[in-house]
């Protein structure tokens, strides 16, 4: 079972890295989002620094959302999901591995890109370590909570918008505490409580979301 799951993880990573539309696109989207923000708000450094903690997180959230659609849909379309369901590993574990692969390919690159985005948005340099930590703590929640929405809409032809409607309300706490942690670092207060809550949301969603996602995936089995 461990070998089956390891093979699945390698397969998903390879697919994301080698086919277009994987990790690189999420990062590119994120950087464009960060580039557009000052054009909309205006280049005033003080105004940008004021909204930067929220924007760096909002961009990550949108990038995660845009890549969610491909988490399960290709597997439902070409029948891979039926084979995965027959594999020795339970579908819950499969859902966990696929959500984890999604985080590795879209969430983990943000650990490197987010400080750069912060720099562009005039986020004070002292806040950069906290920004990376907050992405590490809260980022997995985006992939795991998102896996529920991706699984629910996996069988639909145009599920993208619906996925957003289903998942965005669930992203609210992650966004709030992620941005609050960065803001605390900017203001010089203690960011650890926010980071801890962000990590708690991630761990909770890691434990619970695969169960819901697997239940939703079973609906697509023929």
């Amino acid at each position: 079972m461990r070998r089956a799951l390891g093979a699945l993880l390698r397969r998903d990573l390879a697919l994301a890295l080698r086919s277009g539309g994987g990790a690189a696109l999420g990062v590119a989207f994120y950087l464009i989002f960060v580039t557009l923000a000052p054009l909309g708000i205006g280049p005033d450094p003080a105004a940008l620094a004021r909204v930067a903690p929220g924007l760096v997180w909002l961009g990550a959230l949108l990038a995660a959302l845009l890549t969610l659609e491909r988490m399960f849909q290709p597997d439902v379309e070409d029948g891979t999901l039926d084979h995965l369901a027959l594999a020795p590993a339970p579908l819950e574990a499969t859902a966990f591995v696929k959500a984890f692969a999604h985080w590795l390919t879209t969430g983990a690159p943000f650990l490197l890109v987010a400080p750069l985005a912060g720099l562009l948005l005039r986020l004070p340099a002292e806040a950069a370590p906290t920004l990376i930590l907050s992405m590490l703590a809260g980022g997995p929640a985006l992939s795991f909570i998102g896996s529920i929405g991706a699984a629910l809409t996996a069988g639909l032809k145009r599920g993208g918008l619906l996925t957003s409607l289903l998942v965005l309300p669930l992203y609210v706490p992650t966004l709030i505490f992620g941005a609050l942690a960065v803001e605390a670092a900017v203001l010089g207060t203690n960011p650890w409580p926010m980071l801890a809550i962000g990590a708690a949301i991630s761990l909770g969603s890691m434990a619970l979301a695969p169960v819901a996602a697997a239940a939703a995936l079973r609906l697509n089995l023929s």
Partner: protein, 232 residues
């Protein structure tokens, strides 16, 4: 079907009667508030709608869990029929709240914990209904929606307790069974009547919705049978 058919007109009658009594009591008999004047009267609509917006979600969760565990088709239809009523109550709570907020807080909208939670609850109802509509196969749609409803119960719980978690602008609950905590009787009693009215209204529309869904399903089955017969 027969029992619900018997209850339905009475539920409508009860809702109408309670609304008539409650609205008259709330808008004419109850004294104006010491500070807010007549503006406070909007709580007689706002509070029941807000309470029911979460209460309806609770009914939906129970129906969805029942549907997932025992696969009873009527509980699917119950959950489905709850959603539009719940969304309407949520919208009423938001609109009345913002009408009240403009003169009292000086703003139509503030990003307060409870307001935000209520708005997110509205999006949840909309997403739930959208999911039902997006999936063609009714059995699959029902199960997917039930899973979503259970996942979303976390968000509804947050909405209910947000006032206790984060002490922001919105005041804590104004109703409770505990005598010492709630507002004065002159407001409390008409508020109770209005709560009853909203509950009766919910029940009437829930029954109506489920009956409609059951009939729609029967029609679909009959059509399927006819088509098979014609084909054979």
């Amino acid at each position: 079907m027969r029992v619900s058919g018997l209850i339905l007109p009475w539920a409508f009658l009860l809702a109408t009667a309670l609304f008539a009594v409650g609205l008259y009591w709330a808008l004419w008999v109850a004294p104006p508030d010491f500070k807010q004047g007549d503006g406070a009267r909007i709580i007689f609509i706002h509070v029941p709608a807000a309470a029911l917006s979460i209460g309806v979600y609770a009914v939906m969760v129970v129906a969805s869990v029942t549907a997932l565990i025992w696969r009873h088709p009527v509980s699917d239809l119950t959950a489905k029929s709850c959603a539009p009523v719940g969304a309407a109550f949520t919208l009423i709570a938001l609109i009345t709240g913002s009408i009240w907020g403009k003169p009292m807080w000086g703003a139509w909208w503030v990003w307060d914990a409870r307001l935000t939670a209520e708005l997110i609850l509205l999006f949840f109802y909309l997403g739930y209904m959208a999911l039902w509509n997006a999936i063609d196969d009714q059995t699959t749609a029902a199960r997917a929606a039930a899973i979503l409803c259970c996942v979303g119960s976390v968000s509804a719980l947050l909405s209910k307790y947000s006032v206790n978690f984060w002490n922001t602008l919105h005041q804590p609950a104004s109703l409770s069974v505990d005598k010492a905590e709630h507002v004065h009787n002159a407001f409390y009693l008409p508020l109770l009547v209005m709560m009853g009215a909203f509950y009766a209204y919910f029940m009437a529309f829930l029954l109506l919705g489920v009956r409609k869904e059951i009939r729609a399903r029967r029609i679909r089955n009959l059509r399927g049978a006819l088509a098979r017969e014609a084909g054979a």
